[in-house]
Symmetry: C2
């Protein structure tokens, strides 16, 4: 069985279709890669590309994408709401099938080294690939953004992992990582009171002493006039979907507010949904790898 | 993408390892087939084989299995608790991937015709493949069993679909069908009162005016001293798992009895579990074919 890895590079261009397509073409044209989706946000001026493939195919596609991005994207001219430090801003690798986290860490290091050599872009390793604890968190690595990065890398704590103690003059630096699959899961409340969603977000998130591997905040869905708890789950094996849903439901009940629906944004690993079914159905001794028919086709 | 069909032939031998292995070998040795499992029940004197493959591979394996079974299994010598009418008793085909029910019906007819010709076994088509409404239900087709079948086929209503108005003297007749995936799902109650499980079973099953495509009965799990509602779901697209679980839970509450666990026996299609997750998480606008990562690998 072939090992399959997912990668979700974010490039710092969300408006210019020609540049975006030229970058996405690097994935399309790499044998062994399957492009799953790409979404451009003009106000963020950023495009998120999702694809998967063998380790070797992901390595090739990553290096080609970095070369194309550094050729076409000039960070000195870039504005956008989303923080960014490089023409390819981040490049995470996620184990999907047969592949382990160790495979993804090894891949991220090979890719980091090659991007530094072949695209002349210094690279920070972060998340599971981080070379030191203070480099695990992407927000900390990216702090200062492109504009502050030339100064930041002079600090011995922030020398890039590959490519030397410098930044690329127009391409900045690239963050490369291995991480578990991220799930974007939003919970809609039967209220127009944003404050309630905000309070629930603060209560359930890891940073507020809530659930591990959960990031959450309250947002307003203006078109529906309802408040939403917007959630990023960074490891569903640590905190499963049902626990987040049930905790939000319980907290909302404190305000007499019901959960009226939820949204699963983008892609999700099947195991995350099997875990939900197993919990609610109270299944004893379930083994999805054997009992789910389609698992025998993967 | 290749069409994948599952088949679950039941042969009338559950004790003699040599005969069982010789029959299972017909699946193992057919290129394009993957044997998933086989389970022999000595008291039923019956073996259930589960495999999947392309339509062509399933056809070859089916014909080979019928030839081997008629050679090795003599129904005139067969005793067992489970009703049976043939050496291969039933041979259902289930659409798994890309394949439609129509593909499975067409396959069942090709297989029926070939089994009659090449293994000299008359064939009844049943379930979705049935040639008349009174032949849909397997229990009705099989009524009289092997011992009564020679007489039964004299009735114009019960002439086999293939192979003539007769039975094979030692092999009987074979039931061949197309059907949706069957899910065996048992719900354990926090009581040792079998009567409660029996009442719940009668209430929720289709035959009792309950849920469509649900068969249910109460059984006692002697080793755990608890009562169980034992359930067969013949079409999870009509009645999903969560509805059965929630209805049993609600009915059990009438007696002050909790659901303490459930069992998913054997194989289950992933969509049946996605439906459960979608319901309990209250996901809006979920499309598993796009949003579940592994669906892009199938």
């Amino acid at each position: 069985m072939a090992k399959i890895i997912e990668s979700i590079p974010n490039i710092s261009e969300g408006k210019d279709k020609k540049i975006i397509e030229a970058c996405v073409d690097q994935i399309r044209e790499t044998a062994g890669c399957t492009l799953l989706q790409y979404t451009s946000d003009p106000s963020h001026n950023r495009t998120v590309i999702t694809y998967m493939g063998s380790s070797e195919a992901c390595e090739e596609a990553s290096v080609k994408l970095a070369k194309k991005a550094v050729e076409l994207i000039d960070l000195t001219q870039h504005t956008g709401e989303h923080p960014r430090m490089g023409c390819v801003d981040v490049m995470p690798f996620v184990p999907i099938k047969e592949a382990t986290m160790e495979d993804c860490i090894a891949l991220s290091k090979r890719v980091g080294e090659r991007i530094a050599q072949e695209a002349d872009l210094p690279v920070f390793l972060y998340e599971k690939s981080a070379s030191a604890p203070h480099r695990v968190n992407l927000a900390k690595v990216r702090k200062g953004q492109f504009e502050g990065m030339a100064e930041k890398v002079k600090d011995p704590d922030w020398i890039p992992d590959f490519g030397g103690q410098r930044i690329h003059p127009t391409g900045g630096v690239v963050g490369v990582s291995a991480r578990p699959p991220l799930i974007a899961y939003n919970i809609n409340l039967g209220t127009d009171n944003l404050e309630i969603a905000t309070k629930i977000g603060k209560t359930i998130r890891q940073a507020g002493g809530g659930l591990d591997c959960v990031k959450a905040m309250g947002v307003m869905l203006e078109d529906r006039n309802i408040a939403q708890v917007s959630i990023n789950m960074t490891d569903f094996n640590v905190t499963p979907l049902y626990r987040v849903k049930e905790l939000v439901k319980a907290e909302a009940a404190r305000w007499g507010v019901p959960v009226i629906g939820t949204e699963l944004i983008g892609l999700c690993p099947m195991q995350a949904l099997f875990d939900v079914a197993e919990y609610y159905l109270q299944i004893e001794d379930f083994d999805a790898s054997v009992q789910v028919i389609e698992n025998h086709l993967l």
